[in-house]
């Protein structure tokens, strides 16, 4: 578990790299968004510009066509007013010329009329005798299309007029001036006013005409106002015809139609400008969609007669904008997904790296440990080898010395055995020598056996409870007898002999040690004293043997307790005693050591050998 947790921990470098990836992804997203936004704006602008320009072109073209059409009507009226039949009040001929005019412009005009100088109907085109009788003499002198030409002798273009038959119409009228009949004035407009010719145009016809002019590929609507702001035509909004655009009814309709509210003000401002005879266009949001409205006056006789409006929605633009919006979201989605994938891949790579690193580290550690172990075991092997060599050398030396020590008494025994026959006089002496050497061989054999046991760790202790001081006393007694025989100058003392030193130990082995120490002391002490002392020390038995002999040679002292080192020159020792003694004491959990005494009176102070072994734990009374 800790292993995987380790993997999930990501280093600072990795965090930086991951952050960089995230930042790059974010940057690309923002860039893509910005780029697409600006592109979309540009496309929308281009599309909108296209709509605007098309709208303006359409408004201009349709206005031109319409103007031309009206001028044709105007021209027909002029030719009619100059017709001799009209001038001469020749009714029969006049009805033909009037009918002809109507025939010429019947796609726009409704009918033509001829009024006399008092404003009464003289003739209406395309009517039969009975209808003519009904209308003849109808007084239309109150209509502006009569009064204006009569008063100004010039052409008249009317605003919306509701006719007597309740049909909304526009009228164009021309004065009939008889210049030949009078000589009161000069110039083109001088002459006698004899009547008016009028062309009538139904709004419905205008509407249909205009509708047909719209560019079929271009999704636009058309509207027409007169100079007073009265709605003459609006595509799909016929119910508003005849209303003033600034009237309450239409304005409230606009309010419900236009969002945001600003759009209404914009539209009103635009209409205001157009009514002053200007040409132009503007963008207005209608129901949240951008529309361009282009306006263009329809000019008649050099003056704005009507105002034409073309409205086109920015459909392409808004479609493009919507598409690009989708594209934006899609792009951001793609970039984000790529970024996420990159992050995941990076994360996986890091995790994998981390895992590999961990494995490599673990392997390296294992290898190092193995190396160390190998180095250590090599060292151990080298040490063991060294020890083996030393041991081997020691073993050789031991065999060498041992053989020497054995051969000497053996040779003596053999030699004496041979010579004893030849020298019967010395047989006693020789027998003693043979015995002595045999004993020496026995001692040596026993010591070598002990050494073998020690070295093969087969030295066994026969533990029993006894008083160590008693063993000392016995040994002292034996040696006192020996000293008394050979050297009366040496005195042997046993100090602290009343102390009880209860130990749990091998009695014979400890006796061997004490005997060895005493025999050494006796061997090296020619005069003075040997003091063996028994004492208790901190739960231990302490035994020391202090002599006044020659002391321990400084050269020998470090190796004193090893084999064949401290061999006396008296020839009685085996050179193994101290080694065996040390081994016995250590087997009892004790310690043995030796030191030279302080010298006195210029003489060597001798040596002291000391050993300690643990006292037995006193038995609790049951």
């Amino acid at each position: 578990m800790s292993y995987t947790q380790k993997n999930l921990r990501i280093s600072k470098t990795n965090i930086v790299i991951l952050s960089v990836i995230a930042a790059v992804v974010l940057g690309i997203s923002i860039f893509a968004y910005q780029y697409l936004t600006s592109t979309s704006h540009r496309i929308v602008d281009i599309a909108s510009e296209e709509v605007r320009s098309n709208t303006r072109i359409e408004a201009h073209d349709i206005s031109q066509i319409f103007t031309n059409k009206l001028q044709i009507v105007g021209a027909l009226l002029q030719t009619l007013s100059e017709s001799p039949a009209i001038h001469n009040n020749e009714y029969k001929r006049a009805d033909i010329v009037v009918d002809t005019r109507q025939h010429s412009s019947s796609d726009l005009t409704d009918f033509y009329m001829w009024l006399d100088k008092s404003g009464k109907i003289n003739w209406i085109s395309n009517i039969n005798e009975s209808t003519y009788k009904k209308y003849k003499g109808t007084d239309l002198s109150y209509r502006p299309y009569f009064t204006f030409p009569r008063d100004t002798h010039s052409v008249y273009y009317s605003n919306l007029i509701e006719s007597n038959d309740k049909v909304p119409r526009l009228y164009i009228s021309y004065p009939v001036i008889n210049s030949t009949a009078s000589s009161t004035g000069a110039g083109p407009h001088s002459g006698i006013f004899t009547g008016v010719v009028v062309a009538s145009i139904r709004l419905e016809t205008i509407g249909n005409f205009l509708k047909n002019q719209l560019f079929p590929q271009f999704n636009s609507t058309i509207g027409l106002l007169d100079r007073n702001g009265i709605i003459l035509y609006a595509t799909g909004a016929e119910q508003y015809v005849g209303q003033n655009v600034f009237g309450n009814k239409f304005q409230s309709t606009l309010s419900s139609l236009l969002h945001p509210p600003d759009s209404k003000n914009l539209l009103n401002g635009l209409i205001g400008k157009s009514l002053q005879g200007n040409t132009g266009s503007g963008d207005i949001l209608i129901n949240g969609k951008m529309n361009t409205i282009a306006y263009q006056p329809v000019v008649a006789n050099g003056k704005p007669f009507l105002i034409l409006y073309i409205t086109a929605q920015h459909n392409v633009a808004s479609d493009v904008s919507a598409l690009i919006g989708q594209q934006q979201y899609f792009t951001i989605l793609v970039v984000t997904i790529i970024g996420l994938v990159a992050l995941i891949v990076a994360f996986l790579v890091f995790s994998w790296n981390k895992r590999l690193e961990t494995i490599v580290k673990a392997r390296t550690r294992e290898l190092n440990i193995a190396n160390d172990t190998l180095a250590e075991s090599n060292k151990q092997l080298a040490r063991a080898n060294e020890q083996l060599k030393i041991h081997d050398k020691m073993q050789n030396e031991f065999i060498n010395i041992a053989s020497h020590e054995m051969k000497t008494p053996t040779q003596a025994i053999l030699g004496y055995s041979k010579l004893i026959e030849r020298h019967p006089d010395k047989s006693n002496e020789m027998m003693q020598a043979i015995s002595r050497n045999a004993m020496r061989l026995q001692r040596l054999t026993s010591d070598i056996l002990d050494v073998s046991r020690i070295e093969s760790r087969a030295l066994r202790l026969n533990l029993e409870r006894f008083d160590l001081n008693q063993v000392i006393s016995d040994a002292v007694e034996d040696y006192r007898n020996g000293i008394d025989k050979s050297n009366s100058d040496v005195k042997l003392f046993h100090e602290g002999k009343n102390i009880s030193l209860q130990v749990e130990a091998d009695k014979n082995r400890l006796a061997q040690v004490i005997s060895n120490l005493l025999s050494n002391a006796v061997k090296f002490t020619k005069e003075g004293s040997i003091r063996i002392k028994a004492e208790k020390d901190d739960g231990k038995a302490l035994v020391s043997v202090k002599d006044t002999g020659q002391g321990i040679d400084a050269e020998i002292r470090p190796r004193l307790f090893t084999k064949f080192v401290a061999k006396s020159d008296t020839g009685t020792g085996t050179g193994l005693g101290l080694f065996i003694s040390k081994s016995i004491i250590e087997a009892h959990g004790g310690k043995i050591w030796a030191e030279n005494n302080e010298s006195y009176d210029g003489k060597m102070g001798g040596a002291t050998f000391t050993f300690i072994i643990p006292l037995s734990v006193p038995k609790e009374p049951m």
Binding site: I399, N400, S403, H404, K407, T408, P409, Q411, A412, G415, Y416, L419, R422, H423, K426, A433, R436, N437, D569, G571
Partner: protein
């Protein structure tokens, strides 16, 4: 037993009454010197035996002995050292080393050489 000269060393020969029969015997083992002395004297040699090499050296004079029998391993002065001292006094004397050690020829030569080198310095 190795000797560098055994002309006059004949255990079995009797009645060596010529002048070349004086032997110096040095060994720290009393029993060995006793045995050798008895054996050599039985063969007609005059033997002067010492258990202490220093004592042996102290009485040594040129021409006192024809042959010296010396042990290797002795306290105070070993066989090589004694040989060196004796050679200083008497360049003609024949010397025979006697030892109970198991020493092989190569080993002895090495030991002998090193001791001689040490003595010549």
């Amino acid at each position: 037993m190795i000797s560098n000269d055994n002309d006059n060393n004949d255990d079995n020969g009797k009645n060596h009454d010529n002048k070349n029969n004086r032997i110096l015997l040095v060994d720290d083992e009393h029993d060995i010197t006793t045995l050798f002395t008895l054996g050599l004297e039985d063969s007609g040699f005059k033997v002067n035996a010492f258990n202490d090499p220093l004592q042996a050296l102290s009485g040594f004079k040129v021409g006192s002995y024809d042959l010296a029998l010396i042990d290797f391993k002795m306290p105070k002065l070993n066989g090589f050292e004694l040989y060196r001292e004796i050679r200083k006094i008497d360049g003609k004397i024949k010397v025979c080393f006697v030892t109970a050690f198991e020493i092989y020829h190569d080993e002895l030569k090495k030991k002998f050489q090193s001791n001689l080198n040490a003595s010549s310095q």
